[in-house]
């Protein structure tokens, strides 16, 4: 097969993956709406098929361009999507058996892929010599892995806030004078409490929710404590990798541009993102800043992550403008 053939395979597989993810998202939301186990199973199967297509697309692209296929924003986005879906399937589905959040993860993956196709598409071409370094591969791999982990963490943070609000509403609707019985991740005494000693699955459900009949079509997200813990787990995992990626980037910059740090927009924003997530991790350990407040810091971090990933390439000129 020629390079052009491989390029076409890559492109077709990319589209197949995109459509599979869309189908998986719809199926996952259908599971939320109708609570039929079949929808969930179908969503996972279709999503996994999409993942296979995604990986095929990445590999074919590498063969077509005859280099590691992470050299420009289009390729980063494709890799990022694959890692997001892998992390979701392995950690969330397989390790934690949380079934209800897949639709949101697929939505994020679809957004990333759609952005890649709409704004960043370039054919499989040669790289600028500056990108021709093994530090590029390490740096980019680390940054994309970290981005996908932090991204999923932030997704769970959003779901956590949604769930928290609905739990609070449910408590308020009870109209009793009982204090909000929301316990769990939000009142942990320690930095990285996985489960507080008094944590019982479902304990953060509103007290007495068993007595009044629950609304028939309530979106059944996991309890807020679980979502909070998942969010924290992902961000905690992603943060050192982000740190590592930034350090590798500095080493590469030192080799290529003669300075390890030059306040280039991408560098600046990776520092800003790092700082905000550092703030989040500290906030989790600080009394009075847990729960929703810490979550809001993570959301600011997510915005900063998106700026680092997209806005810098689209609107701010700098050395990292590989999009064009």
């Amino acid at each position: 097969m020629t390079a052009a053939d491989w390029a076409r395979v890559s492109s077709d597989a990319f589209n197949a993956a995109l459509f599979a993810y869309i189908a998986a998202m719809v199926l996952s939301f259908a599971y939320l709406a109708f609570r039929r186990e079949g929808f969930h199973t179908a969503s996972i199967v279709v999503g996994a098929t999409g993942l296979v297509a995604n990986v095929v697309s990445i590999v074919a692209r590498g063969i077509a361009a005859d280099r590691t296929p992470w050299g420009n924003m289009y390729e980063y986005s494709s890799l990022l999507t694959a890692l997001i879906v892998v992390a979701y399937l392995v950690v969330v589905e397989w390790r934690y058996h949380v079934k209800t959040v897949g639709g949101f993860v697929f939505a994020f993956a679809i957004f990333t892929m759609a952005m890649a196709v709409s704004f960043f598409y370039v054919g499989p071409t040669d790289l600028q010599p500056a990108l021709n370094s093994y530090w590029r591969q390490i740096h980019v791999t680390a940054m994309i892995t970290a981005s996908s982990l932090l991204g999923i963490g932030c997704l769970f943070t959003i779901l956590y806030l949604v769930k928290l609000a609905s739990e609070r509403r449910a408590v308020a609707a009870l109209g009793s004078g009982t204090p909000p019985p929301i316990v769990g991740g939000s009142v942990d005494a320690d930095l990285d409490d996985d489960a507080p000693p008094d944590y019982v699955p479902g304990a953060d459900e509103p007290v007495g929710s068993g007595a009044p009949a629950p609304p028939a079509r309530r979106i059944a997200l996991p309890p807020s404590a679980t979502l909070d813990r998942l969010a924290y787990r992902f961000i905690q995992f992603g943060f050192p990798i982000w740190t590592f990626g930034v350090i590798c980037g500095a080493i590469w910059a030192q080799q290529t541009w003669g300075r390890y740090w030059g306040w280039d927009p991408k560098e600046t924003w990776s520092f800003i993102t790092w700082t905000i997530f550092a703030g989040y991790l500290h906030a989790r350990a600080t009394a009075g800043w847990k729960g929703a407040k810490a979550a809001s810091i993570a959301l600011v971090g997510f915005v900063s992550l998106l700026i680092t990933y997209y806005a810098v390439n689209l609107w701010i000129a700098g050395l990292h403008t590989y999009a064009t």
Binding site: T125, D126, L127, Q128, P129, A130, N132, S133, D190, L191, D192, D193, D194, A195, P196, P197, Q236, F239, P240, T243, F244, I247, A250, I251, Q254, Q255, T256, W257, G258, R259, Y260, W261, G262, W263, D264, P265, T268, W269, F271, I272, T275, I276, A278, G279, H282, T286, V312, I316, A317
Partner: protein, 518 residues
């Protein structure tokens, strides 16, 4: 720690401003454009230092405050850490009150069982202390958590200091060297963008860099594949030391400076004669004004010769097409100019200006007080008459498209001022930087990462054991709790107890007296 965090977030906010507004050190022309477009706001921004955020006094102040706040917080934390490491774990009274608690019956006497428990705990990485009666053990582990956190924060402080010292005492600038020429590291030899740190002594190394040869390699698409400057490195006293290749991603270190490949360009050698007198003889370093979005390789190179000694003064503007075949061939066949990646029938258009020269710059010409006296074209190996524009010699054998080949002078023509273009050379732009703290910055960065991982993935755990004789055997009471990652400890604790039971059962019970008798 909270103050430090707030200061760090302030730095992040400041850097956001720095990335959104154009910055003087990176793009002075964009700052100027911004200030023209927004005169009032721009003026305030300039006064506040928003166009040089990372060099502003308030950025430095925030950095200094961050340093003070971190150190002020870390010193007591480190002391407490050292104290707690030296301290032996303290015995507990009511072991069964801990969140995790087990009771097991093991053979042997209480003291031996407690001793076995102590060994098992040690094997699991706990620091242990045995009570005076030998029947109780207190154990804890996870000092790595606080230690890692301290390493992380101290390394961050070291990083800050190393960066400030490195940037403060170092310098970075660019050197332009034409093939065959030697450049010497001295402040006035830089391209005018030398950035010297605040605390620099201003001294330069005085080393020499001679460009032996510059070469590059492009794909047909015009995508560059490699740039290589073959250089000879010369010690400050003038002795050549060695030859080396400076390429992208492969900088060269020499005598405390690091040399990076930064850019390249063309330098036509031009001789200008006025009768028998030589007015100019040497290479002209050419630049480009490629519009945004246009492949720079398809754009001609521009350079100037300024003859300030003549009255009226004369400036010659030169426009170089290194590969005239690719450029004009593409244009004349109705297409667009092809990328000019190599020298192939190089050709220059020249314009002669007369009048008053206002600026000495070799990259631009202020034509307000000047007018054009003649213009024409010149190929490599040609000589042209600057006053009439005709070709004195060399025009015939050029291989240039007919449309650009000039007209030969009349036979017997005597030119007053002539220009010849004997050869085309290339120049390289090297970035020269002097930064002594790079290894420290790297070391600190690695420690940051190690400290971070240690702090995040270790957890503090405490375990207490008490052994009581009962019915010929011993009852082991084991209690404990984890301060972090409790679910992991929930799994680890039963295993720990099982290990103690196994060890007590398996070890042949050695009576205490036997040990004493030895």
């Amino acid at each position: 720690m909270r103050t430090a965090l707030v200061l760090l977030l302030l730095l992040a906010a400041a850097s956001a401003v720095g990335s959104l507004l154009p910055q003087i050190p990176n793009s002075p022309e964009r700052v100027a454009a911004y200030r023209i477009a927004h005169p009032v706001v721009g003026d305030w921004f300039a006064r506040a230092g928003f166009f040089d955020v990372f060099g502003s006094w308030w950025f430095a102040l925030t950095l200094a405050l961050l340093f003070v706040s971190l150190v002020a917080c870390l010193i007591p934390r480190s002391r407490a850490m050292l104290r707690s490491i030296r301290q032996r774990p303290i015995q507990a009274r009511e072991i069964d009150a801990f969140p995790l608690y087990r009771e097991v019956v093991v053979p042997g006497d209480a003291v031996a069982a407690a001793g076995t428990a102590r060994r098992v705990l040690r094997r699991h990485g706990y620091r242990v202390a045995v009570s005076d009666d030998g029947r109780a053990v207190a154990a804890e582990k996870g000092a790595l958590r606080e230690a890692g956190s301290l390493v992380f924060h101290w390394a961050f402080v070291v990083l800050l200091v190393a960066v400030v010292i490195g940037k403060g005492t170092g310098y970075v600038g660019h050197a332009t060297i034409v093939e065959g020429q030697t450049w010497t590291d001295a402040a006035f030899n830089y391209d005018g963008d030398l950035r010297t740190g605040r605390f620099s002594s201003g001294a330069h190394t005085g080393i020499g860099i001679k460009l032996i040869d510059y070469s590059d390699d492009f794909r047909r698409s015009g995508v560059p594949m490699d740039f290589t400057s073959k250089v000879e490195l010369i010690a400050p006293d003038g002795t050549p030391v060695r030859e080396d290749d400076v390429t992208i991603n492969h900088p060269v270190s020499f005598d405390g400076v690091r040399i990076f490949q930064f850019g390249f360009g063309w330098a036509p050698v031009v001789t200008i004669r006025d009768g028998g007198r030589i007015l100019y003889d040497g290479p002209i370093v050419m630049g480009q004004n490629a519009p945004k979005g246009v492949n720079a390789l398809t754009v001609p190179w521009i350079g100037f010769v300024k003859l300030t000694s003549l009255r009226p003064q004369v400036a010659i503007q030169l426009e170089l097409y290194p590969d005239s075949v690719a450029y004009f061939g593409g244009l004349l066949s109705g297409g667009s100019p092809q990328p000019m990646t190599e020298a192939n029938a190089p050709f220059m258009r020249y314009t002669v200006w007369q009048g008053r020269i206002t600026d000495p710059s070799l990259t631009s010409l202020d034509t307000r007080f000047m007018h054009v006296t003649s213009s024409g074209g010149i190929g490599r190996g040609w000589t042209v008459d600057l006053s009439s524009g005709c070709v004195v010699s060399g025009g015939g054998a050029s291989g240039l498209p007919e449309q650009v080949a000039g007209t030969a002078c009349e036979p017997g023509h005597r030119s007053a001022t002539s220009m010849s273009f004997p050869q085309l050379r290339q120049y390289t732009r090297l970035q020269i930087s002097h930064d002594t703290t790079v290894p420290f910055v790297l070391g600190a960065a690695i420690l940051i990462l190690l400290g971070l991982i240690a702090a995040m993935y270790s957890s503090r755990r405490k375990v207490w054991v008490r052994a009581e004789a009962r019915d010929g055997g011993t009852v082991l009471q084991v209690g404990g709790f984890a301060l972090q990652r409790k679910d992991r400890f929930d799994e680890a604790f039963p295993k720990l107890v099982a290990d103690m039971t196994d060890a007590s059962t398996r070890t042949p019970i050695r009576p205490r007296q036997e040990v004493g008798a030895r």
